[in-house]
Amino acid sequence: MSSKLVEFKDVSFRYGEEQPWVLKNCSFEIFENEWLAIIGHNGSGKSTIAKLMNGLLFPQEGEIIINGKQVNEANIWDIRKDVGMVFQNPDNQFVGTTVQDDVAFGMENRGIPRDEMIRRIDHTLAAVNMQDYRFTEPHRLSGGQKQRVAIASVLAIFPQVLILDEATAMLDPKGRKEIMQTVSNVQTSQKLSLITITHDLQEVVQADRVIVMNAGEIWEEAKPRDIFGKKDALRKIGLDVPFIGILADELKHAGIAISHEPLNHEELLEDLWTLHLKT
């Protein structure tokens, strides 16, 4: 088992004394090189987890340990070197006038030497497949391209944890695909833990582990396939069951003995083909 990188111990958070708790007694761990997906409806507490992880918020109860350090006001600058974050709105996270200036911004803040910056710009833009857009102005990019640059900017500071907080929610289907593809490439080619926060069940398929949030509490923690199997419960907490899951259920009703919960079209077709050969 690889080592623990992030640890939440009985963490509770609320925005003010009189306010309701948005996070209640949450405990979980994230390991090195792991892809963890956090899913939940709006207001379930998933973005609060992200903000707690890099010290944008601090918990009233419990503690958060990242890379051996407890997150507090004294060390947030260290923590933020380790935890990079990409947000929802592609238009809110561009600071440079060109793509390469934008990638350079985070490195400038950390005083990285020029030669090294140039190397990293090349490397990270290639990682998100945006190397042909170095000198492009941000307003000429599509939403998906902007988000890819945002990912490159974060990768350039070599974080240990990369958090994508609903980074696909405002994109069109093509942009969404681009980002999921990029994220999966980055995860396999670089040594880092990845946390993707989403309300789209389709986007958790490739994750190693899924945490489902509901009303500020951890509702379930399991592998994607196990989560997909709990359709009725997912619907109850406001999540959408993917088409393939609904079809698998209807096939069962129609008398087809599906052997396991399919995660994608290919798995279901393969299963059906095996059954077909047997009849």
Binding site: H41, N42, G43, Q88, S142, G143, A169, M170, D172, P173, K174, G175, H199, D200, G238, L239, D240, F243, I244, I246, L247, E250, L251, H253, A254, G255, I256, H265, E266, L268, L269, L272, W273, L275, H276, T279
Partner: protein, 289 residues
């Protein structure tokens, strides 16, 4: 209200080095009472198209007819305000337009500008607030204390309070969670039916278009690329891929199924239950029955 575009061109910043043709010889007809989905990738002209519907822009060439209102380059209707009271546009992220102190005042802003009297506005607000899924407890609260989904409902209520005949929806579910998306679309659809509205939905979601629209128009480079009933348009996979669009997931699956089993299950907008039955028949080898 019937809507007709006839050879419409629209050029941004005409006669300047930045001139850009956003709409290119576009013609179509939408009969009153239909639910039309307008689909196209980013930059295909969808937003420019809908701005023509209530005269925010007028065509550089050609004509737009909305009910009895005619819009051309030289001829703007004199009663533009009346046109705008009859075409309700819900822009993208409409919650960004909220500005009043209370939810009630914000909803009243539109109808007040169209000189609806105060008593009537009150009546409308009490009718609309439950329709958009809010309760009257919200009326005295600041819209800025609400969640994103609730704010969007307030903004939509503001458009509905004007009682438009045509509802134009520009990606109304973007950024909402799945339950919110479903609730909002369901609300628009039942309103469309009950109040006999003409509804124009601009969307990236092929699934929503398939579920709600009775007609789809696919835009590419500012012009009409395909048009027809959703079940006719959406089975044309290659044509859609050429303009960077995907077919709805159910059609993708049936397509893959046909390749694997070498037996087609034609898509006719049948329910998922019926699709499961057809699949069973093929898998169990009694497709002929």
């Amino acid at each position: 209200m019937d809507i007709t575009f006839k050879n419409v061109n629209y050029i941004y910043q005409q006669n300047s080095p930045f001139a850009h043709k956003a709409i290119d010889d576009l013609s179509f007809h939408i009969p009153s009472g239909s639910f039309v989905a307008i689909i196209g990738h980013t930059g295909s002209g969808k937003s420019t198209l809908i701005q023509h519907l209530n005269g925010l822009v007028v065509p550089s060439e050609g004509e737009v007819r909305v009910g009895d209102f005619l819009l051309t380059k030289d001829k703007k209707p004199k009663n533009m305000k009346e046109l705008r009271s009859r075409i309700g546009v819900v822009f993208q992220y409409p919650e960004h337009q909220l500005f009043e102190e209370t939810v009630e005042k914000d909803i009243a802003f539109g109808p007040t500008n169209f000189h609806v009297d105060a008593e009537e506005i009150k009546r409308r607000i009490h009718e609309i607030v439950p329709l958009v899924g809010l309760s009257s407890d919200f009326l005295k609260r600041s819209p800025f204390d609400l969640s994103g989904g609730q704010m969007r409902r307030v903004a939509i209520a503001g458009v509905l309070a004007v009682r438009p005949d045509v509802l134009v929806l520009d990606e109304p579910t973007a950024g909402l969670d799945p339950r919110g998306q479903k609730e909002i679309m369901h609300m628009f659809y039942s309103m469309h039916k009950q109040q006999n509205l003409t509804t124009i939905l601009v969307t990236h979601s092929m699934e929503d278009a398939l579920k709600y629209a009775d007609h789809v128009i696919i835009l590419n480079k500012g012009t009409k690329y395909m048009e027809g009933r959703p079940e006719e348009v959406f089975i044309q996979k290659e044509a859609l891929h050429r303009v960077q669009l995907d077919v709805p997931e159910v059609i993708q699956f049936l397509d893959q199924f046909e390749k694997k089993f070498n037996q087609p299950i034609p898509f006719m907008r049948q329910s998922i239950v019926d699709i499961a039955k057809s699949i069973r028949n093929v898998v169990k080898g009694d497709a002929s029955k």
